[in-house]
């Protein structure tokens, strides 16, 4: 019977119910989208690293897992690596920032193709002229580019010569010497990708490289991929924590306001229930159930909204962000919204439970 009353109350004030649930939903979406983008973008980075087809990655001394280095390693390092037994291909890349978190990657297209199996061109083809740039499908979609279109970065206009399937190394590609020149790092590279003749030789070669190049960051590609995580991105975890904190406060305020006005509006009804013999605990229980219902409906709406944000991200900014759905976080986000909501319902609930029946019955 109490559940029926709760449902009828929520239906009766459907505008406030919808707005409250939507506010809780936005809070849940905010958390899940942030987490989904964090995981998705990092997973995408890891996937693109694996997509190169290398077995080992060598990064400059002192570089962090996800830093955008320019080109601080000498290209001669490649000759050293190539003569190591079991190494079949060693290719270098140079990365140059082009604004924001975006970068262009310089590759030796022949070596890169041998290592990765080559780009899968969705349209166009390899570099033909000095102003040619290859972009991946996501970058092309985000910037509305087609083969032959012009795009501008690094104070220069480039012609899109090819659009490739995403998932290999980067989103924008130029010839290696061009990036070295643009970044004033001629003869230097950012990373070295190494392919071996047999995976079984990986431990031996890895150990040898670490011994020969003790200052460099040397990983197997699998190890490197696993290190690209939320835990290894400086500041990301505290940032997620801050967003969760803000969400709890928002949920608290929304439900507090909603329940506070609900208690005021329903003063007379509370008096009626008390005259029928409802205990303060029952009155509190009704508001708590309403709050839980709002939080659950809001959370479900919030979870569904993350599919919408994922679609919007893939539609409008796939070159910058990738969002994945993280079901493991659904109960966490729901619990967070419940915590904020129940905290918000405490004072109005207490006020309702303490309401004087006679005053409540004479409330206009």
């Amino acid at each position: 019977m109490i559940n029926k009353l709760v449902i009828e109350n929520l239906k009766h004030r459907w505008v406030r119910t919808s707005l409250s649930a939507a506010a809780v939903g936005v809070q849940v979406t905010m958390i899940l989208t942030l987490v989904g983008v964090s995981y998705g973008t990092l997973e995408d980075m890891a996937r693109r690293s694996r997509g190169v087809g290398a077995d080992i990655l060598i990064r400059p001394p002192g570089s962090s897992i996800i830093s955008l280095s320019s080109a601080p390693m000498p290209q001669k390092l490649l000759d050293f690596v190539r003569q190591i037994p079991h190494v079949t291909i060693a290719t270098g890349t140079a990365v140059h920032a082009i604004g924001g978190t975006n970068s262009v990657t310089g590759v030796d297209l022949n070596e890169f193709s041998r290592m990765s199996g080559g780009f899968k061109f969705l349209s166009g083809g390899p570099f033909q002229g000095p102003d040619d740039v290859i972009v991946d499908e996501y970058w092309a979609r985000q910037n509305k580019l087609k083969v032959g279109a012009q795009t501008r970065f690094l104070n220069k206009t480039w012609r899109v010569c090819g659009i490739v399937e995403p998932g290999k190394l980067a989103r924008l590609f130029l010839p290696l010497p061009l990036v070295q020149e643009l970044s004033a790092n001629t003869g230097k590279i950012s990373m070295v990708y190494v392919k071996l003749d047999d995976q079984a030789n990986l431990p031996t070669v890895l150990a040898g490289l670490k011994k020969s190049l003790p200052e460099h960051q040397i990983y197997s590609i699998e190890e490197y991929s696993s290190l690209i995580s939320v835990n290894n991105v400086p500041g990301l975890k505290p940032f997620i924590g801050v967003v969760i904190g803000v969400s709890i406060v928002v949920g608290f305020l929304v439900v507090f306001l909603s329940m506070y006005t609900a208690v005021l509006e329903r003063t007379r009804e509370i008096g009626i229930l008390k005259s029928l013999g409802a205990t303060p605990q029952m009155i509190l229980g009704i508001l708590v159930r309403e709050t839980v219902a709002l939080a659950i409906v809001g959370s479900i709406a919030g979870i569904l909204l993350t599919y919408l944000t994922r679609w919007a991200i893939m539609q409008y900014v796939p070159g910058n962000l990738t969002q994945v759905i993280v079901p493991d976080w659904w109960p966490v986000a729901t619990l967070i919204s419940l915590t904020g909501s129940l905290t918000g319902a405490l004072y109005p609930g207490w006020k309702a439970a303490r309401q004087d029946a006679i005053e409540a019955l004479s409330y206009e």
């Binding site: 109490i2 029926k4 009353l5 009828e8 009766h12 007379r268 229930l273 013999g277 205990t279 006679i358």
Partner: protein, 228 residues
């Protein structure tokens, strides 16, 4: 000492309020006995203390001093939670403004009273007989806003008596009704009293309404008086 024939025994009942620095005496030593099965009307002008007496008898308010025995149980010695239990078990209320829960249908309003009293929702037997008596059987699925004032008051009466309370308290039950509906409601109260033996204490300022009762008690200035 409790008299088993008496449902209500009120002795030297005093109720004082504090309004700012001023102490107001709403009841100044009320003595009142009501027999089981009696239909009594309490009449008096505004401020005479009849509503205060109503709230104390219904366990909605506490007394400052004196004793109030309902079915042998002294309300003045009870805690808030014990008086809440009295409202569930011994008393049914009918108010001037009907006081139905607006979000629930008529039948759910009645079922809510049963639920709070820990009883199962009856749909036949005595319950059906009561609904027939009240003439609202066909309107049970409607919410209060779809019912006329007279219908709402009859639903409120059904809700008040559904748990077989020892005492039915009615506060100006016809105050918001036209004369035709007032007559229906008052006849219903009298029928409930005569056919089912329901003890009723009705507060009213309307002499015509009071005439339906067996006995009329007059109040003025917080006291029961012999003559109006």
């Amino acid at each position: 000492m409790s008299d088993p024939a008496m449902l209500i025994q009120v002795k030297k009942l005093v109720k004082k309020y504090r309004m700012g620095d001023v102490e107001v005496s709403a009841l100044r030593g009320v003595d009142l006995n009501v027999q089981k099965g009696e239909f009594i009307a309490i009449v008096g002008p505004s401020g005479s203390g009849k509503s205060t007496l109503f709230y104390i008898l219904g366990g909605l308010s506490s007394a400052s001093s004196g004793t109030v025995l309902i079915d042998g149980r002294d309300l003045t010695q009870m805690s808030d939670s014990e008086r809440t239990a009295i409202r569930r078990e011994l008393v049914g209320f009918v108010f001037q403004r009907y006081n139905l829960l607006p979000t629930l249908s008529a039948t759910d309003n009645i079922a809510m009273a049963q639920y709070l009293a820990g009883k199962k929702h009856e749909t036949d037997g005595w319950f059906k007989q009561t609904l027939d008596l009240l003439g609202i059987g066909h309107r049970l699925g409607h919410k209060p806003r779809s019912l006329s004032g007279g219908e709402q008051q009859r639903v409120a009466i059904a809700r008040a008596i559904v748990n077989h309370p020892a005492l039915l308290l009615a506060d100006e039950p016809t105050g918001n009704l036209d004369s035709e509906n007032s007559e229906i409601v008052l006849k219903l109260l009298r029928d409930l009293n005569e056919r089912l033996g329901q003890t009723i204490l009705m507060i009213t300022h309307n002499p015509e309404a009071a005439a339906y009762a067996h006995r009329i008690v007059h109040m003025r200035d917080g006291r029961i008086v012999e003559h109006p």
